[in-house]
Symmetry: C2
Subunit: 298 residues, 2 copies
């Protein structure tokens, strides 16, 4: 089985050709995503796909399935984007139809990128041995995928694991989703930068190193928002692990130490002590692996 995987992210797009059954990425190419029409983005994906086919010396017919990770909610049946919070131009766009123009007679399947990442951990990562865990991605937004009894938990209307949109502060910061005081409005990369008045997270870290106390306060509030969300999830679900990925998590071990320390404040000892809060073992490729996991689950 050979799969074409596309990770449509809030700031970049990654295209892979993989062998899901072997858990192996054969070829990968990514590009930054300027805010432009979905049509132009799809054209760019098509070019990348054709380039990868050549690179792998395979024909289009050898691709068995196309699996797409989306940065928001999709109608999984029709293949239409419902709401990608950080990509407003995509609202209602028929992604499946766009792909069908250049990929004929192959199944094209979709899932939320955080669900894909959670499945990637379950099939190929540290999550393999863990029956119940939450995968969190902290990047442009804050998304999550929940594994319960070794399976993705989707909820009654396929809207589960909206961890980033749990209310952390009553009547707090306005969130892009329309609610107030959401976790994402404090902890995402975009929110951290916006609240600190800087360009991005690397600049925020630079300001902190220079001793900018406002930058430090904003960063700490982001950590605590995430920790309250994790603490509350552990109180409710008493999970074995919380696995964190996404751009912001690449800050590294110091980020994880701060989260662990803060999460302890919001959790009882037993749910806390029985849970490991760790970085994704699949790092930057987690959603790419997720498209292969999605292909396997088809």
């Amino acid at each position: 089985m050979t799969s074409l995987g596309i990770d449509i992210g809030g700031t970049k797009i990654s295209v892979i050709i993989g062998h899901p059954k072997k858990g192996k990425i054969i070829a990968k190419e990514k590009f930054l995503l300027p805010i432009e029409s979905p049509e132009k983005t799809i054209e760019r994906i098509q070019l990348t796909y054709e380039k990868l086919l050549k690179q792998c010396k395979i024909t289009a017919d050898e691709i068995d399935i196309v699996a797409i990770g989306c940065p928001g909610s999709c109608d999984y049946t029709s293949g239409r984007a419902i709401n990608f919070p950080n990509m407003p131009l995509w609202r209602g766009y028929d992604i499946k139809k766009a792909f069908q123009k250049f990929i004929k007679h192959k199944p094209i399947i979709f899932d939320n990128d955080a669900n894909c990442a959670a499945m990637a951990e379950k099939y190929f990562g540290t999550g393999k041995k863990i029956s119940d865990f939450l995968y969190i991605t902290v990047s442009t937004g804050v998304g999550a995928g929940l594994i319960i009894n070794n399976k993705l938990y989707r909820g009654i209307s396929l809207d589960a694991a909206e961890f980033g949109h749990m209310t952390i502060v009553k009547n707090g910061e306005q969130c892009g989703c329309g609610k107030k005081g959401c976790l994402e409005a404090y902890a995402s990369g975009t929110s951290l930068a916006r609240r600190a008045g800087v360009k991005d997270v690397p600049e925020l870290l630079k300001e902190m190193r220079k001793g900018n106390t406002h930058a430090q306060l904003v960063f700490d509030e982001g950590i605590h928002a995430l920790a309250i969300g994790i603490g509350n999830t552990l109180q409710l679900l008493n999970l074995e692990a919380v696995i964190i990925g996404g751009g912001v998590s690449t800050i590294g071990e110091s980020y994880f130490q701060k989260i662990r320390k803060a999460a302890k404040e919001y959790t009882w000892p037993r749910p806390y002590d029985h849970c490991t809060i760790m970085q994704t073992s699949l790092l930057d490729d987690v959603v790419d692996y997720g498209t292969m996991a999605l292909a396997l689950s088809f």
Copy 2:
């Protein structure tokens, strides 16, 4: 199968003899629980049990199993109380041993009262037809039991569903559990009364009717704390139902209307619209039915 069921509550104790397979309570007797030693309480339970046997015209030997709902955490194997937050004298008390003194050669099993109530809904109540729901009890404290895929979800160290101890306000009100800003510290009957400076919830309601604005504010904060917890649970789990029981919920439909309205503020439309927030169909007997469900699950 005939079961003896004991609901050890924060303020009262209920003893039943039931037919779990028929879902029928044969005889029930309850008494108020003054703060006294566990030994004296067990003596009182023994007297009630003997009275019920006579009333039902059965012998001790006809009881097949003893199922006990506890107001806190228990070591389910040893039968020892770990922590009953509102009954400090019971800490570490060997409940199983105490019962074994007058009930010989019968299995004696335990669970948290909120877990019992959730199972009661699943086996005998509205929850029968619902695969995934949260049962919440709002009374002396705030407890919960979580049903996922038609089964009680216990978590890695049997500590799941501590809904009442999710953090609602960072550095908020001191909670009896040791954490700060827990849902229970705002929404339980005890917290509502304490914060309003009145004796109990009926007196709080009387003050509200008299136009006491502080009482009204405390009540509304309790509703919103509960609603944030429910909203966050729905964002995370996208459940089909939230079922509420316990003394405070007997305020009735006006209480439920306020919770539904407030929960909408903290939830996205789809998780909210697909969920029903309702009162327990088993009312005051919910934990009694829970002891029968526990007996069936043995």
